[in-house]
């Protein structure tokens, strides 16, 4: 009787079949070997890296991984936007600002063993801009126009001297050279791998990619031959942990050593945790509502109305209540990380609904008006867009501006954003740390849609200043131009200025000397482990 029961029991059949399948799958799945050790640091990323080919990197999390492997001619002093030599030891700029001559570092080798020299710089960069280049077909180059569009010629003067001739003088060029998309890739690796360079990177950075299991982890090993000395942390492991709660759990239990974007409400508990440190710092980020200033878009075409909207929004409350302190209120497009360039002496839109009403009345809208604005449900750098949008909707309604919110998924949102909406939320983050990258791209009339001056803002004086500032080599002169331009822009109020998000990194206390970068990068060269 027993025997028949087992044979016929349907759940028994199912379980045994399923077990067979499971055992088969487990059998077919590879297992890793090494165990965690004292010189290994584990980073929990919000999303996994998608490629290891610098020009194809379009998202921040991938950049955080790929920047470990590749270097540019120039770099940033950790924690700042100040330029320091990287693969170039020194440089000279011609008086007219169009010729940049770089002396390259001697004795540097790529991770694949091939030597780094002037020809490698030329090869790696021309790959992106010259369609006849042998390695051109190995990728897509979305940023080539942004960063190399102004380059007329790249010449290898001798084995370790390279000369860039620009079409027009361009003051932020040294900053632009830090950008990941134009960091130097080994010509030999490009010849060997073609399009598969994306999975077989070879740069000169302090870490080389040792293993990459998509969806599971990316493992980096210290480059023992690094020109600036081998890093102290010998192994870096980046694992994707999508859910904020899971990142929080992993950092508190010590599964990972460093992470970010943990739930804001957990920060107080983390600050009291003896095992972890919470680092907070400003970033170059800005979150805003772009207002369509074109004539055919009343009443947004009236400066008084736009100013009223700025007075109506309680950004300090948004930072405190919605962002729970993970940002600072924005009064200009440039965040305080820009130091002196960030101009505090602009018209200050402090929360003042009475003043907003008065301005609306002065503009001929004593009873306010109706409008519609767009907000994405989530998106790169967008913080808590729907909550923030809803708060702003209530703020505007309090002074009589009755707005309807339309929320959209990020992909659809980006497409809609380019169709000149009346009012829409957006955020901006400058990876290259030059004010030109913010002000020229967002407020110059040369950047009308489909470029990123989405509100069609135009002020001839601002245009002249921003155009002038990108050509002037004198830093003091540039500083003054950007300070003055900010003053005019804020006065014109083409945006509702909302906040600058701060960056918050949580790490285990055994991690020492980790420094936040204004452009959200994670540098490990100087980090040590206890």
């Amino acid at each position: 009787m027993r025997h028949r029961e087992n044979k016929r029991g349907i759940s028994g059949i199912f379980i045994s079949a399923a077990t067979v399948i499971l055992v088969g799958l487990l059998w077919a799945t590879p297992f890793g070997g090494a165990a965690a050790s004292s010189d290994t640091l584990v980073v929990g990323l919000v999303a996994e890296p998608v490629t290891f080919d610098p020009p194809q990197v379009t998202d921040l999390n991938t950049a955080r991984a790929v920047r470990r492997v590749y270097e540019g001619l120039t770099g940033f002093i950790p924690g700042t936007y100040d330029i320091e030599p990287a693969l170039a030891e020194s440089w000279e700029i011609s008086d007219d600002g169009t010729v940049y001559t770089f002396k390259l570092r001697q004795g540097v080798t790529f991770h694949d063993g091939s030597p780094f020299d002037a020809e490698a710089v030329k090869y790696s960069m021309e790959r992106q801009i010259n369609a006849d280049h042998p390695a051109h077909a190995s990728g897509k180059y979305p940023f080539a126009k942004n960063y190399l569009g102004n380059v007329a010629a790249i010449d290898a003067v001798d084995s370790h001297t390279v000369k860039f001739t620009l079409k027009e003088p361009f003051a932020p060029f040294l900053q632009y050279l830090t950008h990941l998309s134009i960091r130097i890739v080994s010509p030999k690796a490009l010849q060997d791998w073609g399009a598969d360079i994306a999975t077989h990177p070879a740069g000169t950075g302090p870490y080389k990619l040792a293993e990459w299991q998509p969806g599971v982890k990316a493992v980096f090993e210290a480059n023992e031959d690094y020109w600036d000395g081998a890093p102290s942390v010998k192994k870096l492991i980046f694992v994707p942990i999508v859910e904020a709660q899971a990142r929080l759990s992993a950092i508190t239990t010590g599964e990972i050593d460093l992470t970010y974007d943990v739930p804001a409400e957990s920060l107080d508990a983390l600050r009291g945790d003896a095992n972890v440190a919470v680092l907070e710092g400003l970033s170059a980020h800005v979150w805003y509502f772009v207002l369509n200033t074109r004539l055919e878009n009343p009443p947004f075409n009236k400066k008084l109305v736009r100013q009223a909207m700025n007075y109506a929004v309680d950004k300090e409350a948004i930072v405190k209540n919605i962002l729970q302190g993970t940002g600072v209120a924005a009064y200009t497009p440039l965040s305080p990380v820009y130091g002196k360039t960030h101009n505090k002496e602009v018209r200050r839109y402090d929360y003042d609904p009475a003043k907003a009403k008065a301005l609306l009345a002065e503009a001929g809208h004593p009873d306010g008006f109706e409008c519609k604005f767009l907000v994405p449900v989530s998106g790169s750098g967008m913080q808590s867009p729907v909550d923030m949008g809803t708060y702003i909707q209530a703020n505007l309604a309090a002074v009589g501006i009755r707005c309807e919110i339309q929320t959209m998924e990020w992909g659809a949102y980006l497409a809609e954003y380019r169709n000149s909406p009346q009012m829409a939320a957006m955020s901006w983050n400058s990876t290259v740390g030059d004010p030109d990258y913010v002000l020229y791209r967002l407020f110059h009339s040369g950047a009308f849609p489909p470029a990123w001056n989405a509100g069609w803002y135009q002020n001839e004086k601002v245009d002249a200043m921003l155009g002038d500032a990108r050509k002037k080599a004198d830093p003091d002169l540039r500083l003054q131009l950007y300070r003055d331009a900010q003053k005019l822009i804020v006065e014109d109020a083409p945006w509702i200025f909302v906040d600058h998000g701060s960056q918050i990194v949580v790490h285990n206390k055994r991690v020492k000397d980790f420094v936040l970068s204004p452009n959200f990068d994670f540098k490990f060269k100087k980090v040590t482990l206890e």
Binding site: R8, I10, L25, K140, F143, A198, S249, G411, A415, W452
Partner: protein, 315 residues
Amino acid sequence: MWQYLFKRLLHTIPVLFGVSVLVFGMLHLAPGDPAQILLGPEATADSIAQVREDLGLDKPLVVQYATWMSKMARGDFGRSIVLGREVFPEIWARFKATAILTVTSLIIAVMLGVSAGIVSAVRQYSLFDSIAMLVALAGVSMPLFFTGIVAILAFAMKLRWLPSAGMYSPAGGDLWDLLRHLVLPALTLGTVSAAILARMTRSAMLEIIRQDYVRTARAKGLNERSVIYIHALRNASITIVTVLGMQIGYLLGGSVITEAVFSWPGIGQMMVRAIQARDYPMVQGGVFFVAAMFVFINLLVDVLYAYLDPRIRYR
């Protein structure tokens, strides 16, 4: 039997064709441009146009569909727009992880659900029955992400028994490491199916144990075990297998959420990212592959019916 199988196999062709048209149509008609999303906010109009051309997105939809289908017919799933890598190996690697998760969840669901259902039916209105059905009701009602996050809070963060994310420890691991990582997501995902199975098994069994032939079996003097496990369960199993077949579909769908909560490197998580990026080849290939798997599993369920109920055979 073979003829039956062959006929059923032929039926899958129009289904898969329909799936391909639907997924292609929905994806391409949805707003959002992969080039725009790929290049992000910093992109210029020129570079977007260039990437669209490189990807063949500037061609008419019919041409794009025909190109895709003719490649698929040759087993070429194409290259991912975002990753730049071949689609099929990516799908296959991720599918294995998903399969480990769903099969484990299924085992948990059957073990918990079917046994709880049987006991509940046999001891109707007992304390066990009331508690089991209450738990099952809660299990059916609770959303996966909630159960998942509560499980992380309780077992990973507070008790520190189990890891909260991933399939292996960062430094790599063995089978034991995998099993430890598997417990929370598999339980989270399996609970809902277990709850549904328990309720369905209970009602199917209740209906059957009241039938005349069951009474006859008892009257013959068979012991209760044989009556329940052989006479009643076999007939109830038609319902159970039907529910189970549907649960496999549910588990594959539910794995999307479970994988996101537990960072399980499965196909669900990959598809969510691909959809957000409008990575057409990846989404199309992935949906097509999952649909094909689902059709195949349904075929298996139908064959199982034929085994369980001779009346269905050879029709």
